[in-house]
């Protein structure tokens, strides 16, 4: 199986379409959405429609904090003003069908030797950012599988266990198949499809090959000018369009 790992799509249809096409070209035969389907971007309805199509073909989806925030004011409470404004806007776009779909999503999915989660497996509903070795260690301690895949941080990174128990961070190089044998523990953070924040505009996702036991991080150039123009046209905060233009 070649599993495409898509995190933080954030209502960016142009990025989602480009990434799904790229993943198919790379031989992906399954898709997992690692949360935050909506929020920030201007296309929540078309994005959810595409995601539900993929679910019809067997895709796995977990819930992210933006997905939860659309449903529950309390989750939105801690967000920054721009994110909050986008949540309120998104809430107005969604109908009962979409809300029911988002509400049906689990926080954690375990599939064989994989654990899929949006933030940290240690406390999935607390939306902890796994940005350092300590948090990565907590996350891995909460799972029993060799491979854990997550999103939430918007930057691709791979934590791995080496000589000590404390996992080490590794910044992946796009397009390189990294051997990830099952005797070590791995926490792959796929980066963001719809709102990359590492200074590059290209959408980020990862592809896990469970036969060759490799993980490949990819960057996909997509039509971000259109996505940014839609954000402005929808009356969403201009800063959210600029983030797509600058990749920050």
């Amino acid at each position: 199986m070649r599993l495409a790992l898509l995190a933080d799509v954030h209502s960016n249809l142009e990025a989602l379409v480009a990434v799904l096409a790229h993943a198919r070209e790379q031989g992906a035969d399954a898709v997992a959405f690692l949360g935050d389907l909506v929020g920030y971007g201007a296309d929540p309805l078309p994005v959810l429609e595409r995601v539900e199509e993929e679910v019809g073909r067997g895709a796995v989806v977990v819930q992210g904090n933006h997905d939860a925030a659309v449903l529950d004011e309390k989750v939105a409470a801690g967000m920054n003003p721009e994110a909050l404004e986008a949540i309120a806007w998104t809430r107005r776009q969604l109908g009962p069908r979409e809300r029911a779909f988002l509400a049906s999503l689990p926080l954690v999915v375990r599939r064989g030797e994989l654990t899929l989660v949006h933030a940290s497996a240690a406390d999935p509903g607390e939306w902890t950012y796994v940005t350092d070795a300590l948090r990565a260690e907590e996350c891995l301690r909460a799972t029993a599988t060799p491979w854990t895949f997550a999103g939430h941080v918007h930057e691709p990174i791979l934590f791995y266990t080496a000589a000590s128990d404390r996992p080490l961070p590794f910044r992946p190089v796009p397009g390189v198949a990294i051997p990830v044998p099952s005797r070590r523990r791995w926490l792959g953070i796929a980066g963001s499809v719809g709102q990359p924040r590492d200074g590059r505009t290209a959408a980020s996702y990862a592809l896990f090959d469970d036969v060759r036991r490799t993980l490949t991080f990819h960057r996909v150039a997509y039509d971000w000018p259109t996505a940014a123009a839609k954000v402005r046209a929808a009356g969403l905060p201009a800063r959210l369009a600029e983030r797509l233009e600058r990749g920050d």
């Binding site: 080496a162 190089v173 051997p179």
Partner: protein
């Protein structure tokens, strides 16, 4: 696991042949497979209970790194077995002799030290450009082929920027061979290609003097590497020329920023002794005095190497530029345009080296009845033109070198120079517009552009 195969066994299609090595870490057998067109060996680690965990990890590292590398300076990778099922590594059997044979015969004549050192430097540069760092450079890990080129074997401690570093640890401690370890490795930094340049300096010192610059310290003595300056090679063997000592001691600078910026620059210096700018290092005949040592020690007390980006970025920021200057029949406009192009390229940040070359027809050493046509005079005349051409660029000492190449084929001569010296960028004048049959016959510039191993800029006046 723990059961080692016997000759005649078959593993994943490989027929096991004679055992050629048995050591603490594992065994090596010759292997054959019908589709293999070159001799190959299989390395099988000892992974039973009681074996140190680091040997498993370094076997895994070697599998990862070797499978990602190409080129003639590492053994060709063939196959790897799953570590948990049947661990093995099949690779090309490198035909040649280990550099340790030369080290045993050291001290060697300076010319031999230079050619061996240059071959090793070229091999390291090839590795660094592929984003890998060897980190265990020592004579027994270098094979010298019959053609004089070097092959780096045993990549068990290597670092490759494309893969997670399985040997990195939270609490840094040195791994590698103590006499050859760089100061960065002593404090656990594994991401600087100039660590290999340091070890290269240790190897060259050993070949030149027959002694190790820092002896064979135990783990406690390693920190001295951060500040200690070795006894100058010329104090041990007076026959060592100043330029060779200069190159060796530059490689052995405790501060990586003061070493040559890339292995390619060391290869260049070792193959062009006449262009090495000899400074205090080269002339030194005694180790530094106590006051100077105190200064070094104080500097080392706050030692914290800066993290680096990709290994290749180090090589890329220290490129070698080759400019072909037509000293025989160049027109002034073209020469001026060429100089402007070079000036712009040199203006970019980084420590660039400029090699100025011209190609002249071979001059018979004894022929020529007229005094001004003797070979030596011819060369001097063209060197003077080259120097005059470069003068307006205002280059610092050691930044430029001048070469008069003698050949009937200018393009071939320039291409050979570019390949031998790992040149990164060739700058050459465009042919005149009015040459008849230009398209049909081709020109020096077009042939260089077609066949050069690097970027080529063709400059038109």
């Amino acid at each position: 696991m723990g059961d080692l195969p016997e000759p005649g066994d078959t593993i994943d299609g490989f027929l096991i042949g004679e055992q050629i090595h048995a050591g603490g870490m594992g065994v090596i057998h010759r292997v054959t497979r019908p589709d293999l067109t070159f001799p190959a060996v299989m390395k099988i680690p000892r992974l039973g209970p009681g074996e140190p965990a680091t040997s498993v990890v370094s076997f895994e590292v070697e599998q990862n790194v070797l499978s990602a590398l190409t080129g003639s300076h590492v053994p060709r990778f063939v196959a790897a077995g799953d570590l948990t099922v049947c661990p093995y590594l099949v690779m090309e059997e490198v035909k040649g002799r280990p550099l340790s044979e030369w080290a045993r015969r050291a001290p060697l004549p300076p010319a031999e030290v230079a050619s061996l050192g240059s071959a090793l430097a070229a091999a390291l540069d090839d590795l660094h450009r592929q984003e890998a760092i060897h980190l265990d450079v020592k004579p027994s890990n270098v094979m010298v082929r019959d053609d004089g080129t070097a092959v780096l074997i045993d990549l068990g401690l290597a670092h490759h920027a494309h893969f997670p570093d399985l040997l990195a640890e939270e609490f840094h401690r040195p791994i590698g061979s103590a006499p050859y370890l760089s100061p960065e490795q002593v404090v656990g930094v594994r991401s600087d290609p100039r660590s290999d340049v340091f070890s290269l300096g240790v190897v060259a010192y050993e070949l030149a003097t027959g002694r190790l610059p820092f002896g064979s310290p135990g783990p406690g003595g390693l920190r001295a590497r951060l500040w200690r300056v070795p006894v100058p090679p010329r104090a041990l063997a007076a026959a060592i020329p100043e330029w060779l000592q200069e190159v060796i001691l530059r490689c052995l600078e405790p501060d990586a920023a003061r070493r040559p910026a890339s292995a390619a620059q060391v290869a260049f210096d070792l193959s062009h002794p006449q262009h090495v700018e000899v400074g205090e290092r080269g002339r030194r005949l005694r180790r530094a005095g106590p006051l100077q040592l105190l200064g070094c020690w104080l500097k080392a007390a706050g030692y914290a190497p800066a993290p680096l980006a990709l290994p290749s970025s180090q090589a890329a920021s220290a490129p070698i530029l080759l400019v072909a200057v037509a000293t025989q029949h160049g027109d002034d406009a073209t020469l001026a345009a060429l100089r402007e192009a070079v000036r712009r390229l040199l203006a970019a940040p980084g420590s660039r080296r400029l090699a100025c070359a011209t190609v002249i027809r071979p001059v018979p050493e004894l022929g020529g009845s007229r005094e001004d046509e003797t070979a030596a005079r011819q060369r001097i005349r063209h060197l003077a033109v080259l120097r005059a051409w470069a003068e307006p660029l205002g280059l610092g000492p050691g930044q430029a070198s001048f070469h008069v190449l003698e050949s009937t084929g200018p393009a071939e001569a320039l291409l050979a120079f570019a390949r031998q010296n790992r040149v990164d960028h060739v700058v050459i004048g465009a042919p005149a517009r009015d040459i008849p049959l230009r398209g049909l016959l081709g020109t020096v510039a077009t042939q260089v552009a077609l066949e050069a191993p690097c970027t080529v800029t063709i400059v038109r006046a």
